[in-house]
Symmetry: C2
Subunit: 292 residues, 2 copies
């Protein structure tokens, strides 16, 4: 890929390297590769237990634990980073598991308050804390715009009229629950909400659908997974994402497909995702959110 326009987030005033605080999955490396392709130096701050050790070695990197906010700030300054991307999955830790370093401890009361809110607050709060220390937090999609889903189907299959109605119902439902900073995903079949994501995460919600089917409490097949950003979502750090695991879980749950809001959801590994969706005979589609 040779983009003719350089995305705004990739502008480094003075050739300063891009810092990437990276968790699970391929996205940290997708962003790193995109920045490197744009001629920008990259430093990874790889989260121990989450970032893939097999991939981290391809870039200058430091291993850090989830609670080491202070260490990341210190290392990022030493490396000359001004811009940071926070990307890749981490499991929401308990306060205890964090084993915070001193700087994090100084933020303790604030973090405790953040923990009381939803996931949004936590991620946005961490982003804000970095910005207060002079860093700029940049969305992964500002470096690698190609990771955002566009309007229309990703693979061969497209939603039927009934499935389109289920998608609309799911989007309306997520608009209603958005202000509560809860899950960003719902499963709708025949206009009925079968499951809604809260603290359990998307995959666990999809396993539940499979269990409900096994118990014959819902019909054997059908239904759409709808994911949407929350109103006022912090696009720097918290866009919904799907990966190969989501496709597999949706297929296991015998869903018809997955709908995401175009321009507001991250699809890692588009080509592999599209092929997997076709193999599983499900659709993956980017849609407009009327009220989004």
């Amino acid at each position: 890929m040779s983009p003719t326009t350089v995305p705004p987030g990739s502008q480094a005033a003075d050739g300063a390297p891009l810092g990437i605080v990276g968790g699970r999955g391929v996205l940290p490396f997708t962003v790193a590769a995109a920045a490197r392709d744009q001629g920008r130096r990259v430093v990874l701050f790889a989260l121990r237990g989450f970032a893939d050790p097999g991939e981290v070695g391809a870039y200058p990197h430091h291993w850090v634990r989830l609670g080491q906010f202070g260490k990341v700030c210190r290392l990022a300054r030493r490396e000359g980073c001004r811009d940071l991307v926070l990307i890749g999955g981490v499991q929401r830790p308990t306060l205890r598991q964090l084993r915070p370093d001193w700087t994090t401890l100084l933020l303790y009361r604030r973090i405790k308050r953040l923990f009381r809110g939803g996931d949004d607050h936590l991620l946005s709060g961490i982003a804000d804390a970095f910005e207060e220390r002079g860093f700029r937090i940049i969305g992964a999609h500002e470096i690698a715009p190609e990771i955002l889903i566009t309007r229309g189907p990703l693979g061969r299959r497209t939603p039927s009229a009934a499935e389109t109605a289920d998608i609309a119902q799911g989007l309306a439902f997520l608009r209603a629950t958005g202000p509560f900073d809860v899950g960003q995903a719902v499963v709708v079949a025949d206009r009925r909400v079968l499951a809604m994501e809260a603290a359990e995460g998307t995959d666990t919600m999809l396993w539940r659908i499979a269990e409900l089917r096994a118990d014959r409490r819902i019909p054997k097949t059908g239904g759409v997974l709808v994911k949407a950003p929350k109103p006022g979502q912090d696009r720097r750090v918290d866009l919904p994402a799907i990966g190969m695991g989501t496709i597999a879980a949706a297929a296991d749950a015998r869903l018809s497909g997955i709908a995401l809001v175009a321009g507001s959801a991250i699809v890692a590994q588009r080509t592999r995702l599209s092929a997997a969706a076709d193999r599983s005979k499900i659709f993956v589609v980017g849609v407009d959110d009327a009220a989004g």
Copy 2:
């Protein structure tokens, strides 16, 4: 108990027996006993696989399957019933499992449409179909008003200020999701929605909380189960209910307590529930729903 006023629902114009279409649990028999105490004859239409065979024998009764709408109408007419109560748990069946009788088959297209909506539509639709055939559907609480929860705690423990804030958050969330005819229950801890009920039912949702704790994805204890009626809920057939199983599941999920909207939730076996709540050190409280 010797009520000085007879509840309106218990008025039988001409001494006609009260028909009770009864599913799982003690409620069908609580209602039957209340009607009998009021000097009214009772006929049970016991749903096979759901109604307790050990209790059914205490009343004149007929065994019926879930799909035998026509048979219930025929038997109820023969017994001289004008008023029917539909009460007790049933698992939402698949259309296939229903094995409908002829009258039900005539209603097939309508039932199929009802199945497409949420549980409300299904129960209300069945109630409407009975009324179109000349029966009057009466809420279980109209016969036995003592089954409704009143304002205040049921046992010894009362919610703290923080738990009261979680209850308010849960009620606000359920008001937002109410129009979607989805679950009536949510678990909130520290103002965060941890789980929301959809097709899986309250107990399954509570098991999920226990699993999230085991996986250390949420704190070890705390949180309130909040149940509320949906806006425009059909009080004849679909008030939320809790029983001994709910107390046990809430205790297993290490919740602090359970909040229900006063006058809008059914508590079967109040004395046993209260004792079980005290043993488990959880609260069960009836609260006002500001916007209810």
